[in-house]
Amino acid sequence: MQRFLLGFLCAVTLFAAAPVDRSQPPATPPIPDVKLPNREEFMLPNGLTVVLARDSRFPLLSVRLAFLAGSKYDPHDLPGLSDSVAALLNQGTTTRSARQIAEQAADLGGQISAGSRHDDLTVAGSCLSTNASQFLALLADVIQHASFPDEEVELQKQNRLQLLRGERAEANYLGQEALNEALFGSHPYAHIGPTEQSIAQLNKKSLETFRDTYLVPNNAFLILVGQMPSEAAMKTLLTAEFGKWQKKGLPVYNPPAFPANRKQLLLVDRPGSVQANIFSAHLAPNRTSPDYFPLALGNTVLGAGLDSRLFNDIREKRGYAYDAHSVYNPLRETAYTSAVTQVRNDVVEPAMQALNDDLAAMSSTDVTAREMTQSKNAYAGSFILRLERQSGLADQLVTVKTMNLPANYLEMFTTHIRSVEPDQVRATGKFWSPDDATVVVVGDASKIKKSIEKYGAVEIVKPPK
């Protein structure tokens, strides 16, 4: 206490002598380096790729088992199959009921769940690290011996139908659904979820076929982050749990080509909407392209966060919307950009104009030096912040694997970001241009159709029943 008081007084005197200049942000040292946890990577004889990342701060273990088995592998007549496989994986195995799986996972301080995206179906879990071996045994059972019990399949069908109806009550979902169809055409990225029809047709056999085809070790990446024993002990443990899992040939995946970007203006009619949800989107290069880092920075400048151009213009300056942002969503085969805002009905016309002007500016002018520095620092800083949680690192490792990126991708990330020049960002401005954008507006057509006709030939879309 004595010492503390002295230090305190000393500080007061110091600063009384040299008052702080509040008019400028304080000068600060450069951004600290951060070292990613070392990873150990190996492959079991059955082709299962394993990545271990040690993080001993908390007595927790985070697990991801990622398969290249996302919704793009859904049979044409069964959209949403991958999603249902994911939902039902933890609902029973040949030796455990859904209830036993849930209770055992909970007893180990964990949970096992799975989700499906366009490219991947990923099983995620975590547990108290002291329970790692039992938890991995449970996970191994779930992915090898899921049995899709009839009762659980029926329940999934029933509940998924209600959820779909709920989703389609939301303007944002309707917009995303129409947007993907318009952007991706006949490519399977076009669907984002099931249909009422495909839910009705779902059965045990289709689930099993999907599982047997795609959930195989040579199509999977097992990622572990947290406290764990030595690599040798982990190899022994993983071989015991996953070693007998049979390797299998995978079907040829031969998707149709992506359509070219072209000007489209779709109005999804949602009677009674008090506002219009606007999306303006393009197909764009993905992470494996040299355009990736310039596009990522351009997206930050345009619409990521509360100091972006869209936020400052459409929300702060014009007060048209609560939310205005952009998305750059890289997939394994391509990517898409999308600028998104939701505006009240009476300002739809000027809001579309403002949005188009902001989008056109991405290719007509260079981003400023300030925007460049800020977006680069933003990337470097957020990269560090995402490491705070085990799950943050685990999810990044999933991306590296499922997106087929080099092993040192995370290590090189900040370096790549730092080397981007303004002219490179401007060169990717075409992926935002209003000239060949796919625009989807969700709203009450009787109230807003006139307002958007100025921006092109409007095609009215009825939301799916």
């Binding site: 600063f15 600060t28 951060v34 927790l60 108290l128 609560y322 957020s382 705070e388």
Partner: protein
């Protein structure tokens, strides 16, 4: 391998007997102007969280000014003497940081997560708006529009939201301070004046009405100097009174129905007045909630979603919907919101839920089940503690609401100490039908929904 398994089993046995030990370092002191400060050093990653919480929330609002605390929160991002409009976000996000603010019934928080080299920037930003918020007519007009648009987007255009934000509090609280809408009415938002904003700022945003928490990659002595530099000379103000939140002593059941033109699937909210914050009953109810609603092995999941196939989704908590179990002042309530299969009626869902409670009231719960619920709480808390921001939020909340930030280090022990008998007792004492409030939310076919319920009011 043999040795490894043995160690694991040993550890499991230990873990079941005692929760993992948490030892978050806490340095607590007060500046001369009354600002309470909590520092917690952790140098494992170059990250720091700066978290300021003000002792004012929607419950402190005055009649005719519903939604004002939230409107004011928006004003806090509109600039101050040395930070121009929009710059606050720029300084944080341009360094890769995260920031936000949120309005709760009993407090309003503002925070940033930053790479640790930017600690001084975070302190500069927070101190500048505490010292010299830019209160202008233009900012107020602009933020009124933003809040109204937020209301349209997040509430009026969303299924269930209007019922939950406007109607539910009116049903579970009799005292206007607790029962009025946190997001507020358009009429009240429109009538807020510059004078209101200035008065609110002076009264509630004084250093003596706030807690500053800094967690992460800091050196305590350096952080103290910086904090004194930036916050030390902000003048204190007379200490504002807490609103009188007293509810009538008698509790009576009630139920109502809300017709929702946006909902496609029916929902129902069921709630009960809660126990005293921090009491043994309170921790027992937190464990009971984990047992009922936590994860795939919870009773509601296994017995209603699975068994009866009646419920589709649910969420619930002490303090729901605007507070979580650890961040409100008494009186509180325990509520659960269900979305259910339309082939059932709302009263059947209520009965099925009440039957689940009745089973616990009659039969109690097993050791296995309580251990499972406690393990779930432990891991959820450990997950939350992983981030500096998660720790800052808890430390600040326990200081503001309880005056004891060290509760963070005893939480896991408090959960683990709850017995099956206590869980059974709180189920009996608090979750009985004669204390129950229910709100059914029924889809209203669009054709009949004119005007929308949100405009027609109730």
């Amino acid at each position: 391998m043999t040795k490894f398994s043995f160690c694991l089993l040993f550890a499991v046995a230990l873990a079941a007997a005692a929760p993992p030990k948490i030892n978050i370092p806490i340095e607590k002191y007060k500046l001369d102007n009354g600002l309470r400060v909590i520092l917690s050093e952790d140098n494992t990653l170059p990250v720091v969280a700066v978290y300021v919480v003000y002792d004012v929330g929607s419950r402190a609002e005055e009649k005719g000014r519903t939604g004002f605390a939230h409107l004011f929160e928006h004003m806090m991002f509109e600039g101050s003497a040395n930070v121009k409009k929009g710059e606050h976000m720029r300084f944080v996000q341009s360094n890769g940081g995260n920031l936000n603010g949120s309005t709760h019934p009993d407090y309003t928080n503002y925070f940033e997560s930053l790479p640790s080299n930017k600690l001084a920037v975070g302190l500069w930003l927070e101190s500048d708006r505490m010292r010299s918020l830019a209160i202008t007519a233009e900012n107020l007009a602009n933020q009124k529009e933003a809040v109204k648009q937020e209301r349209r987007l997040s509430f009026d255009n969303q299924p269930y939201a209007t019922a939950i934000v406007d109607k539910w509090p009116e049903m579970v609280f009799k005292n206007w301070q607790s029962s009025h809408s946190l997001i507020g009415s358009f009429e009240d938002l429109n009538s807020a004046t510059i004078e209101d904003v200035s008065k609110f700022f002076k009264t509630y945003y004084a250093p003596n009405n706030a807690v500053l928490t800094v967690v992460g990659d800091i050196k305590i002595a350096d952080a103290k100097k910086l904090i004194q530099t930036y916050f030390g000379d902000i003048p204190s103000q007379p200490q504002p009174k807490h609103p009188d939140l007293t509810e009538p002593a008698s509790v009576s059941p009630s139920s109502d129905t809300y017709k929702d033109p946006l909902a496609k699937v029916p929902g129902v909210v069921i709630g009960y007045p809660g126990p005293e914050r921090g009491s043994d009953d309170y921790y027992a109810l937190v464990v009971l909630d984990a047992l009922l609603t936590g994860g795939d092995s919870s009773r509601l999941q296994l017995n209603l979603v699975k068994g009866k196939k009646s419920v589709i989704q649910y969420q619930g908590d002490l303090g729901w919907p605007f507070a979580a179990a650890d961040d409100y002042r008494d009186p509180g309530q325990y509520a659960t919101f269900f979305i259910y299969n339309p082939s059932f009626q709302a009263n059947q869902i209520v009965d099925q839920y009440q039957d689940e409670i009745a089973k616990i009231q009659k039969e109690g719960i097993s050791d296995t089940e309580i251990r499972r619920a406690v393990t779930l709480l432990l891991t959820a808390k450990l997950n939350e503690l992983q981030t500096t921001l998660g720790r800052a939020r808890l430390l600040a909340g326990f200081e503001l609401l309880d005056g004891k930030p060290q509760i963070i280090n005893s939480l896991l022990d408090r959960y683990a100490a709850v017995t099956p008998a206590q869980v059974q007792a709180v189920a009996k004492k608090y979750l009985s039908p004669d204390r129950r409030t229910t709100l059914a939310i029924q889809p209203e076919p669009a054709a009949k929904a004119n005007p929308p319920a949100t405009q027609g009011g109730f």
